[in-house]
Structure formats: C-alpha cells, structure tokens
C-alpha cells in the first residue's frame, strides 16, 4: 500500500518527494487556510516557507508550514481555521461586517461599555487566531546543543555554499545550515545544478558540518545564532557569520491578490518542476524581472497553457514561442472572489479581462534579511541575494567567496536598505497576509495620525504575523516613505528581532538552562528521616520532618540539630585581609579579637542592605565570613570587586561547597557536645559570640557560638566529606535528650520569637539599616566603608517606613481566652495573616511580612512594615483584617538573651 497520512478523516497518499502541501494539493485541496480577520480563502502561494498561507496543524503542532515540511506516513494533518471547516467557513460573513472590525479595532472597539469587553474578547478570540494549542499533548521539549565554529553560514544556496567552501579552504571550521534540504526549494534548472555541484564540493571538506532542516530563528549577542532543528535546538557560537538567506519574491498587492490561484512564480515552478503538479490549467504570468521567463518555460513544459505574459517590452525575446505577450502591462485585479477565474490587465491601450485559473507573479526580489538586520555589526556579513537581490549565479558565487574568505565588509548598509527598490503596490488588496491588513487599512492608519512605519505597524499589526514581514515588511516601509514624502526616518524598515521564523515553544523551553539542584552532604539523612525537602534558592532544604511544632519544642526544651551547610562561607587571607573586611562592611572590625565573631551587615554603594552574616577573626590574621544561603556567590563577587578596585592584597576562597555546617541548639547543646569532645566548652572558655577550633566525635570543626534561634547554640563548620559522620554521631549521642532535627518551618517561629529578620522575606531592596532598626550594626565613626556616604545623606531625610515587631491577637482584644494570658489564644491561624495589610483605624499604614502563632508566648509574633509620620513615629494600635495587632519591641522571647548566653 502506498504511504499516506491522515487529513481530516481521510487518507492522503504521499508521492516521492512530497511535502505536506504538495500531497494535499494533489489530493485536490485548494483552500489551505482562512485569513485572520475576514476569513478569506487562502491557497498555496510562495512554496518557499515565507508566506502564512499554508500553515496547518501536524500531529497537534499548530502553525506548521506545510510547503516545507516533508510528508511522512502516519502523520495527522488538520487545517486550523474556519468554522465548521476551512472549506465551508460560516465566519466568512465577517467581510460584510468589515466596518465593524476596522484597522485598530483592538484599540477602538468595546472600550465602552467596559463590562462588554470580556465577552467581546472571547468572541474575537474565537473568530481570529491561527491554530489552537493542543491541550492533551505532553510537550516534546527538545534538548539544546551548543556548537562552536569559526564560521557559520546560514542558507545553503549558491552564495552560502560558495562561502562555506571558501572558508573551509582557508582551514576554518564551518557550519552551514539550511531550513530545508539543500536545493529542494529550487525547481530543476541551472540554479539547481549549480547548487548540487557546490554542495558536493562543500561536503568534501572534513571541516564542514552541514545541518539540513535547521532553521536559523534568531541572532543574539555573542554572536549566537539559534537553529531550530527537527529534534533539537542548536545554539551556534561562531567566530563570524555569513548570512546567505537569499530573497523572497515581491508580494503582489492588487484587488483580489490573495485568493487561491494567485502564485509566486517560484512556487508555481516548484510545484510543476519538483512535484509534477499544475498550478492551473490556464495561466496569466506577470513578470518584472529576469527570473520570470525560465519559470514560464517550466510551466509550459509541465503542460500549463499560458494565456498571456505581461512584462516589460524588453522581455519579448526571452519568451517561449507562441506565447501571447502583453508589453508594459499592469495587473489591476483578479476576478472570482473564491478562486481565480480571470484577471484584468491594464496597458496604455486600456484594460482587458483575460480568463484564466492561475495568476503567476514574478515581480522582483525582496532580501530575506531579518537575520542580517539583527546582527548589523562585525562579524556578520551577507552574501548573494540577501545583499544583491536578483544577482546572477556567478555574482552569487563571487559574493559567497568574498564573504567566506572574510574579505567582504558588506554587512547590510543601513542607507542602502533605505534606498532599496520598492515593490509596486496598487490601491487595493491585502498587504499583510498574516494579519489581513489591506492597503486601505494602511491609508486609514496614516490618516488617523500614525506617521511612520514603526507605529503604522503597531497600530495595524501589519508585519506582526507568522511570516514576520517576509511578505509585507518592505511594502510597509515603502508605503510610509511615500506617504511621508520620502522621509527616511518615517519610511525605515521596522526593527528586526528574533524570531525570524516561527519557532515552537517546545524548542525554546529546551533552551532554558538546566535547573541546578544543590544538595548538602546530609541530603540522604534528611530523606531517611522523613523530611519534606523543598527549594530554598537553588538548594533543596528540609522544611520539616513531619511535625514542626515538636521540632520547635526540641530546640526550646532539649536539643536539636539543623543542617546549615547551605550558608555562604568565605575565608579571607593575605596581608590586606583585615583592611578589606573593614572597608567593605559597616561592621566594626578593628576591635574584633581573634576568637571572637560579630554580626555582619553588607551594604551596597547606595547604602541598602543586601546581605548579612557573621565575621570571625582567626588567630593568624585571616577572617572567616558567613553569609545567607542565597548570598554566597554575591558575597564572593562583592569581596573580589572591592579587593580589585582598591588593589588590596587579599585572597578570597569561597568555601561554601567544601564545608558543611550543623547547628546544635537547645538548653542541652553544651552537654551533647561535651559528650563527644574533649575541648573546653564552658561559658568562660567558650562564651557567646566566640568561635573555637574543636574536635567533635573526631571531626575537626570550627565551632561558632551564635544565637539565631535564641537558645544556647553552636554552629559546627566542618569538612563536607565528614558531614554524615558528624551528624550521625550527634544524633546518636542525643538520644538521652530525645534529640531531633528541625527544619525551616520550626526556624521560622524560633527566629520570629527573637525578632530576627530574614533578608528578602522581611526586607525590601532599598532598606537601610535605619529602616530595619539595625543602626547598632553600623559603625558610622569608621573612616570609611561601602555605602557610608549614602547613609550620611539618608540620615538627613526622614525615614519613610520602619520594620517593627508585631504582637498579633492582643490579649485585650481577642476575647476571654486571652484575659488571663497566654496558652489557648483565640488567634490560632496567625500564619494566614502573612502579607496582610495593616490598618490604623481606617488608614492603611503597613503590611505584615512574617508571622506565626507562638504557643510559648500565647500570642502571634511577627514582623512588618509601618509607614512613619514626619517625625519617624509609627502608630502602635493596629489591625490586620479584624485581628488586633500592636507594635512591641522585639525580641519577644527571652528579651535579655539570658538563654543564648548560658
């Protein structure tokens, strides 16, 4: 049985070399699409992948160009537009209603009454649109591959192949790509012969890679060119680029220019010459360039009756014998409405109507220069038709050689493109096939005051469809130039941006960088303990181990572990280490004795807090810094920036990946460590905010006594490779204390009870230490630090807002349960108030950034922003919804810090 594919419930046979379009055409399909707004019939036109007329859905993928997609057995092909079908489209009626959908109707219609818009939008969405996204299909996300090459040649036509050959001869690594198979778009003849010959030569070079069916969709900084291939997206990073994408035939604009039966000559010749199919039985050809005559000959050979050829007089001698020749004529219109039945040609002698079923247009060439115009700088050059539309084969080869050998400096010349020949445009007809924009629409837009190509484009949406202006970009520029009286600015080609060709979301999705999941050394231990792990920046961290309130109690009442291996960890050495730390941070460093640590705030040059951490002075003059988990790379970058700018001798080692860290916290933390260590841990030898090198269960640790959770606590920084060993030893030795690890959920309440701020959760990008109530962490009397002058400036301006401690569910307001205090507070769902606005009376004065119910305190604790009055004062009696909130000084829990200093 002959191979076939399914088309709207029927089987369509596939012949050798068929594209989807040629197979459908052979099966009798003439209407391939319906136009966007007016639902006019559209048939095959360019057959080079440039126009939007043949877009179909293939295996659920909408917007597939059927004229360049090979037909494969078993495909499921459907047309996309029209209701109930593309052939019988009841929405065709909308043309009668054209005045209701005028140019710019998006901006004009349904603005009033406002409530009508959602309804109108739904109807318009149904009437317009190109295809439907499949809903029941898993995305086929394609992998991205990166390729380097000395030279990338885009387009394997005559010029491109010549360029690839010339570059390869110089010993360069060449990648040449084409959106089809080499030579397939060209009808048999001298051009195709030349292409085949050059392709054989190019394939002979070992240093040349040929990528067929890879479409260059865009040029990006680098330069990087993205190629959309059948099962991959290729990002090419070339040393230089030769754009040899050729040219597309001028789109003919006249009344009835878009009905099935109007063909670009290349398309008609390809249909006849490659697929053996006739564009019509009887054709009229309109020719304005040298390329037309061979196409007419191809059609004649295939058996098409040429009713007449309309061309300039000097074409007479190249016309095949016996063809009726109409010199110096002009196409006025087609007749037939749904298909070509006749055309009207105008000459000096008057108008004549000629019966025919096909109109063949060879009107000249417009460079397919989107890519070239995306990358106008060195090292991107054009070759062949894209810079010299209509050049001869020899000129194309010559141009390719120059570009390939690096001699051409002819990147597209902006001035030249302004002066490019303009295609003629009648006073009626469809200019933009994709968006159904007519000549009249352009004039209407101009008359409404849109006076340049760029804004006419935006207003009418001309050039904004799937073909991205391949058909009408030049027409639009020429229109604007003419109406503006020749202004280069008004009539400039609109800016070219990726994608140059339609590209699927699946291809783009594959280009997203791989998601990096960072794991600490204890990852498997957390999983085994039943942890719920989730994203925290690029890390996966335990949020809880099943019951965060019991984890919380372990910290407050006994002892608990937390994996903080994610903390940023920097070691700073070199003779200027102290100077660097002192000058970068607002923290006082000079009196920080070896063995002591201090809270560290990091300010940007604008005086805004961007990170915090801890600084430890080591015995040998070096410093050890910690930063937030998400801030490690930024902290390293910041330190290196200032070391470089001040030319300081400081060596910075980011130890984040090589060190693990475990917090041991709770009233029994010291007892637990003492059972595993011989080192002195008593509060005199190892007080709060000190750090010591100790061995715990034989693992060397830098132990830092800190107090983020408000209890006696040690951070044990240790070699990552020994993390599991240390964790297991601590867990085992903690059995008598009913030890259990705690996750981020428990930490949230622990730190809130202490009023500790989470940067980025409680803060905003423009927070100064003053807004956060952290002036104590800034030594303004230091000679200098990054951000100091900015803080001095802002000290002269009243504070606009303050971060404050919040008591949520006030005992006096929340009902009987609270009268006598604490446990059993009526406000149970405090966490639901996160992010809620805060009111003082009826005035909106702030917002809650974090909050949680505290069973120990008997009320909700939180942090939040409040707007200040002119004197820097904030209101104290607040509400969030109907819950009473009051401002209280943090910390709420153990305000004097007796527990963490124990």
């Amino acid at each position: 049985m002959a191979p076939s594919f399914e088309f709207e419930g029927k089987q369509v046979p596939i012949a050798q070399g068929d594209t989807i379009a040629s197979a459908l055409y052979r099966a009798g399909v003439r209407t391939f699409t319906r136009s966007l707004k007016l639902h006019r019939r559209r048939g095959l036109y360019c057959l080079t992948g440039d126009c939007p007329n043949c877009l179909v859905s293939v295996d659920g993928v909408p917007g597939t160009r059927s004229c360049t997609t090979p037909a494969d057995a078993g495909m499921v092909v459907e047309r996309e537009d029209g209701w109930p079908s593309t052939d019988h489209d009841l929405m065709r009626l909308t043309e009668a209603a054209h005045p209701l959908m005028p140019v710019g109707f998006y901006y004009k219609t349904f603005i009033h009454p406002r409530f009508a818009w959602p309804v109108a939008e739904k109807i318009i969405r149904k009437v317009t649109g190109l295809g439907r996204l499949p809903e029941d299909r898993a995305p086929d996300i394609r992998p991205t591959r990166h390729v380097r090459a000395d030279v990338l040649v885009v387009g394997a036509g005559v010029a491109g192949l010549a360029a690839a050959g010339a570059a390869a001869e110089r010993g360069e690594r060449v990648l040449i790509c084409d959106e089809g198979e080499i030579g397939e778009k060209v009808a048999p003849g001298p051009t195709q012969d030349r292409i085949r010959g050059l392709a054989d030569e190019v394939r002979g070079f070992a240093a040349v890679t040929v990528l067929e069916r890879h479409t260059a969709v865009g040029m990006y900084d680098g330069p990087m060119v993205a190629l959309d291939g059948p099962r991959e997206l290729v990002q090419v990073h070339p040393g230089r680029v030769v754009v040899a994408t050729g040219a597309v035939e001028y789109h003919g604009v006249f009344k009835g220019n878009d009905v099935p039966g109007v063909w670009q000559a290349r398309g008609a010749a390809r249909l006849a010459g490659v697929h053996g199919l006739l564009p019509g039985a009887r054709a009229v050809a309109v020719i304005a360039g040298e390329e037309g005559a061979p196409h007419v000959a191809t059609l004649t050979d295939a058996g098409v009756e040429i009713a007449a050829v309309v061309a300039a007089l000097d074409h007479a001698d190249v016309m095949p014998d016996g063809v009726r020749f109409i010199p110096d004529g002009r196409i006025v219109r087609t007749h037939g409405g749904e298909a070509v039945r006749a055309v009207t040609i105008e000459t000096e002698a008057g108008r004549q109507r000629i019966a025919c079923d096909a109109l063949i247009l060879s009107l000249g060439l417009s460079p397919r220069d989107d890519l070239l115009r995306m990358g106008p700088e060195d090292p991107v050059v054009g070759a062949g038709d894209v810079v010299m539309p209509g050049c001869s084969l020899d000129e194309a080869v010559e141009s390719g050689h120059r570009a390939g050998s690096g001699e051409a400096d002819t990147s597209v010349d902006a001035a030249a493109s302004h002066d490019a020949a303009c295609p003629s445009m009648g006073d009626a007809g469809t200019v933009c096939l994709c968006e159904d924009v007519s000549v009249e629409d352009l004039h209407r837009a101009w008359d409404e005051g849109y006076r340049s190509s760029e804004i006419v484009k935006r207003y009418t949406t001309a050039t904004m469809g799937p073909c991205q202006g391949a058909m009408c970009g030049l027409h639009l520029a020429c229109f604007a130039k003419e109406r503006s009286g020749g202004s280069r600015k008004a009539g400039a080609r609109t800016t070219s941006r990726p994608p140059a060709r339609p590209v699927s979301l699946e291809a783009l999705a594959g280009a997203v960088h791989e998601v990096i999941e960072k794991r600490t050394a204890l990852h498997d231990r957390h999983l085994a303990a039943g942890a719920r792990l989730d994203w925290s920046g690029s890390w996966k961290r335990p949020f809880n181990y099943g019951d965060w309130r019991s984890e919380y109690l372990a910290v407050r009442e006994r002892v608990s572990l937390m994996d903080v291996g994610t903390l940023g960890k920097m070691l700073i050495g070199g003779r200027d280490a102290g100077s660097l730390v002192d000058r970068v941070f607002p923290t006082r460093i000079e009196d920080l004795a070896p063995g002591r640590s201090r809270y560290l705030l990091a300010l940007g040059e604008a005086g805004y807090v961007f990170d915090d951490g801890l600084v430890c002075a080591l015995d040998d003059g070096r410093y050890y810094l910690t930063s937030t988990s998400g801030g490690a790379d930024g902290m390293e970058r910041w330190l290196r920036e200032w070391a470089d700018r001040w030319a300081l001798h400081a060596n910075i080692v980011n130890q984040t990946p090589m060190l693990g860290a475990i917090v041991v916290a709770g009233p029994h933390a010291r007892d637990l460590l003492a059972s595993l260590s011989d080192d002195a841990l008593d509060p005199v030898s190892f007080p709060y905010m000190a750090h010591r090198e100790i061995a715990v269960a034989g693992v060397p640790c830098r132990a830092i006594r800190v107090g983020f959770v408000g209890e006696l606590a040690y951070e044990l920084h240790h070699p990552r490779s020994r993390g599991v060993e240390l964790w297991d030893a601590l867990m085992a030795a903690g059995t008598p204390y009913d030890i259990r690890p705690h996750g981020l959920d428990a930490l949230e309440l622990l730190r809130l009870e202490k009023g500790h701020v989470y940067l980025a959760q409680d803060t905003m990008p423009d927070d100064t230490p003053a807004k956060l109530g952290m002036e104590w962490a800034v030594a303004m009397d230091k000679p200098d630090f990054v951000g100091k002058v900015a803080l001095e400036r802002m000290a002269q301006i009243p504070l606009e807002r303050k971060l404050v401690g919040l008591r949520i569910g006030d005992a006096n307001a929340a009902g009987d349960a609270n009268r006598n205090g604490h446990r059993g507070d009526a406000i149970h769902d405090v966490a639901a108030l996160r992010g809620m606005p805060l009111y003082a009376g009826e005035a909106l004065v702030g917002r809650i950034t974090s909050c949680e119910r505290s069973d120990v305190l008997g009320y909700g604790v939180g942090l939040g922003w409040l707007r200040t009055d002119g004197d820097g004062e904030v209101p104290t009696a607040l509400r969030a919804g109907d819950v009473a909130v009051s401002v209280v000084p943090a910390p709420f829990y153990d305000p004097k810090g007796a527990r963490l200093r124990a």
Partner: protein, 76 residues
C-alpha cells in the same frame, strides 16, 4: 551583535560567562551630593563607556574594559 569579552586571565570568552558590573564608578567620593550622583545618576552613554566585568563562570576575576554600548565593540 558581537560580544566576546576579553578576560585578562582567560582571553576572549563568550559574554554569557561573565556578570556585568555596570559603569566604572569613581572612588573616594566623600561629598554627599557627589556621591548621590555617582551612585544614582550613571552616565548611560550611547557610545563608549568604561565598565566592570566579572568572569563569574571562569576565573572569577574583575576587570575594567571600554565598550561601545551601541555596537558592542570592545576597545580595550
């Protein structure tokens, strides 16, 4: 547009390996108003500018170079 960034350690590399540090800013400014202009009012020229680059996905070195913001041509 072409954008290969010349790292003093590693030679010309794709810009995607670097993070951009913005315009080179003056050091040692102590006047409040001058500092405000320095921090908040960058020149943002259409043309040549001195700027900072950090080879984050490479040797992690900072350096200053001069680039034309219109053409991406790197001058030094």
């Amino acid at each position: 547009m072409a954008l290969k960034v010349p790292c003093p350690n590693c030679g010309p590399r794709s810009y995607t390996e670097f993070s951009f540090g913005g315009e080179l800013r003056e050091l040692g400014v102590t006047d409040i108003e001058d500092d405000f202009r320095r921090v908040y009012l960058p020149e943002n020229p259409a043309g040549s500018q001195e700027e900072r680059w950090y080879h984050e996905l490479g040797c992690r070195r900072w350096f200053t170079l001069s680039r034309d913001t219109v053409t991406n041509r790197i001058e030094a």
